[in-house]
Amino acid sequence: MTFFSHLRKAAIATAFVLGATAVHAEEQYFPLQSYRVGPYAAGGTGFFGGFIDYLNLINIRDGGVNGVKLAWSEGETQYEVEKGVEVYERLKSNPGIAAWNPLSVGIAYAMIDRITDDKVPLITINHGRTDTTDGRVFPYVFPLLLNPYSETSGIVNYIASKEGGLDKLKGKNIVVLYHGSPYGKETIPIYELLSQKYGFELSQIEVPHPGNEQQAQWLTIRREHPDYVVLRGWGVMNPVALKTAQKTGFPADHIIGNVWSNSEEDVIPAGDAAKGYTAITTQASGERYPVVQEIVKTVYGDGKGNLEDKSRIGSVYHNLGIVNGILNVEAVRIAQAKFGNRTLTGDEVRWGFEHLKLDPARVEALGAKDLFHSINVSWDNHEGDGYVTFQQWDGKKWNVVSDWIAPDWKLLRPIIEKSSEAYAKEKGIKIRTAEDADAVVSN
């Protein structure tokens, strides 16, 4: 009995504490399905660290977005779909959700139906399901900056520029080494299409998740004797690939990493084997950008920095998290200009994302000049024409080795529309028009 009376007292006390924290001023909430343990923890801690650091910067420096404070909480997913769904169900009851940012293709796939019902945006920056670029079919999904097809086109264009033009690709031999997951497989058809279009020989080799054993794959590559290997890896697969390449004698400067194989965490563990390795990116690494400097000064100066290891400030994942923060916050700001400076609904933030236009001048004003190029999202183009650049690892840091390159969007759009229209047909989705996009649910 006494036990139960204690329990009741504790329960009442808990209810008070919870009730007290539940009273908020105007707040916009970001539910974070983060992953800080498991094979992909390096990506998770860097990305979510950068994201949280930027949200903190806005709160500390500006007092929120036009007075609306930014709030967030985290749930650990370990990059697993079931856990991601559980966290989604847990966090979705919070008020004032702006957008979801799971940073996992598998989790994003499982959320598409759910967030469409809830009318809340789902952001898959630099990854995701390619045909969600078509806002006519996927009103709430945004593969911002770079979808997988654009990335592929960017990489092929870069290889062409190294060889001296797209016509020089004919007869070249390219191997794509991809991660055995939905993310890794997403680009198989587009590489095949580009290989037919430009006449290069292609073989695509799968590395099963998580990819810490690649001897067989690299022996195959050695037999193939390719001109370039495209590394479409993730997490531990990347350093293992670079090390195994060195063992089998394949030169690192002919390996081109994709956008999830481009971080410090991918190359540092590979040591010397990574020297000369080149990778695509949408956001440069380093601390020299004003916005990163401000985060160091204001957020870390205040002891509120999210990264435990301060040497990771300005790393690729950390900067991607910051860019992701900029895009999310600016979408909220743009939506506020239309709907008022208050807590917005998910659908209002969706409208904000669909009008997310940051030209290079605005990017500079945000302190992110050269960190990323620009973005131009519209109601039917949810990617926003992001530019890419290439950086080479010199053993200590990444050096940018190309200009900002535009992927071949015109070539890709019809393929994307074909795929999204097929999806719409399979699911019985009505194709949206510009008027539909302007109808916003505001309660």
Binding site: S34, E82, V85, G106, T130, S181, P182, K185, E186, H209
Partner: protein, 349 residues
């Protein structure tokens, strides 16, 4: 005379038991079809009940094979995958196929698969059999990844659940999917319960306890083993359909990996081998306890540590709890439950 007297004396006790059982069943029905749909939150249904139901059913299936028939299998998640992808393809390729038929056909595909991978059980036992069922695991994953046809040539190999409807009634809402799930689980569990109390069920147990003795008394060992594989895979296959269609609503082959097979095996070991109730208790333990720990951890220490540290410590606690449980009651939660019931019974009388 003496026998009659004995029967007469036993009759009232049986009645009481029957009434008790009926009351329990009614209560279960009221909770499953009345209370849960009316009052359960979206979180409870989507994040706890749906995975719990699908995994319970898979555990019931595996328990039939491992608990009752004594054949150790590590192929459960492969059979789930066959069920899930089978249902997806039957639904896609055959226009207007009713959902129930789709599920049964998916179950039959899984059963066929189970029989093929059950063949080694005729020559192998114990751990050797377990290792040979691993082949199912790798083969299915390889085949589903290799041949794009299975996932309707989706480039990333991910299938998404179709629109669910029974007799024109949409079941796409959380409650609808829950009702579909709970009904399927109840029907199949009832059938399994009938089966294990029948002659076939006793054959299973005979084969498990002593194969040679079973053969001597005339149990058709060969047929019994294959039947166990078939029925078990059928049920696990349908559990896979529930997992894919009602819970996640999107599935990739890698989602049905070896970890899931182990998870189901641990459910029946923790819950109690050769016990239907054990499958449900074990599934509840495996699904609910980690969530409970993570919520508790986040609530108590959320501000102090980041979610990664919390997750790691929660695994340590979960592991410790499993060890303590198995030391305290090696026969699983089901036996623990019985002990508890006896103790309460003796106290109240």
């Amino acid at each position: 005379m003496a026998v009659q007297a004995l029967d007469a004396a036993r009759l009232p006790v049986d009645w009481a038991k029957l009434v008790q059982k009926l009351a329990l069943a009614t209560a279960l029905f009221v909770v499953a079809y009345g209370v849960v749909p009316a009052y359960a939150s979206g979180y409870l249904v989507e994040a706890i009940l749906l995975p719990f139901l699908a995994l319970s059913l898979a555990a019931v299936g595996l328990n039939l094979l491992t608990g009752y028939c004594g054949q150790l299998s590590l192929g459960s998640s492969a059979f789930m995958a066959v069920g899930a992808f089978g249902a997806y393809n039957f639904n896609l390729r055959v226009e207007g196929l009713p959902l129930a038929v789709t599920m049964i056909l998916a179950g039959i595909s899984a059963a066929g698969f189970g029989v093929v991978f059950g063949l080694p059980s005729l020559r192998l036992r114990g751990f050797y059999l377990a290792v040979s069922t691993l082949a199912a695991q790798f083969f299915v994953q390889w085949a589903l990844t290799k041949f794009g046809w299975f996932s309707n040539d989706n480039p990333s190999g991910v299938i998404s659940a179709p629109h669910l409807a029974v007799a024109g009634l949409s079941l796409d809402s959380a409650t609808g999917r829950y009702l579909l799930s709970v009904t399927t689980v109840m029907v199949l569990t009832a059938l399994v319960w009938r089966l294990v109390n029948s002659a076939t069920g006793r054959n299973f147990i005979a084969v498990r306890d002593n194969e040679t003795a079973a053969r001597v008394i005339g149990v058709p060992v060969l047929r019994t083993k294959l039947l166990a594989f078939a029925i078990s895979s059928f049920i696990i296959g349908i559990a896979g359909v529930l997992w894919a269609f009602t819970y996640l609503r999107t599935v990739e082959p890698a989602g049905f990996n070896l970890d899931r097979s182990f998870q189901i095996l641990f459910i029946i070991i923790i819950g109690g081998l050769a016990s239907i109730r054990g499958a449900f208790l074990g599934a509840a333990f495996i699904v609910v306890l980690p969530l409970f720990l993570s919520r508790l951890g986040a609530f108590l220490f959320g501000g102090l540590f980041d979610s990664g540290v919390l997750d790691m410590s929660q695994r340590i606690v979960l592991g410790a709890i499993i060890i303590i449980f198995l030391i305290a009651e090696p026969s699983g939660l089901s036996a623990l439950f019985d002990r508890l019931k006896r103790r309460i019974g003796s106290r109240s009388s």
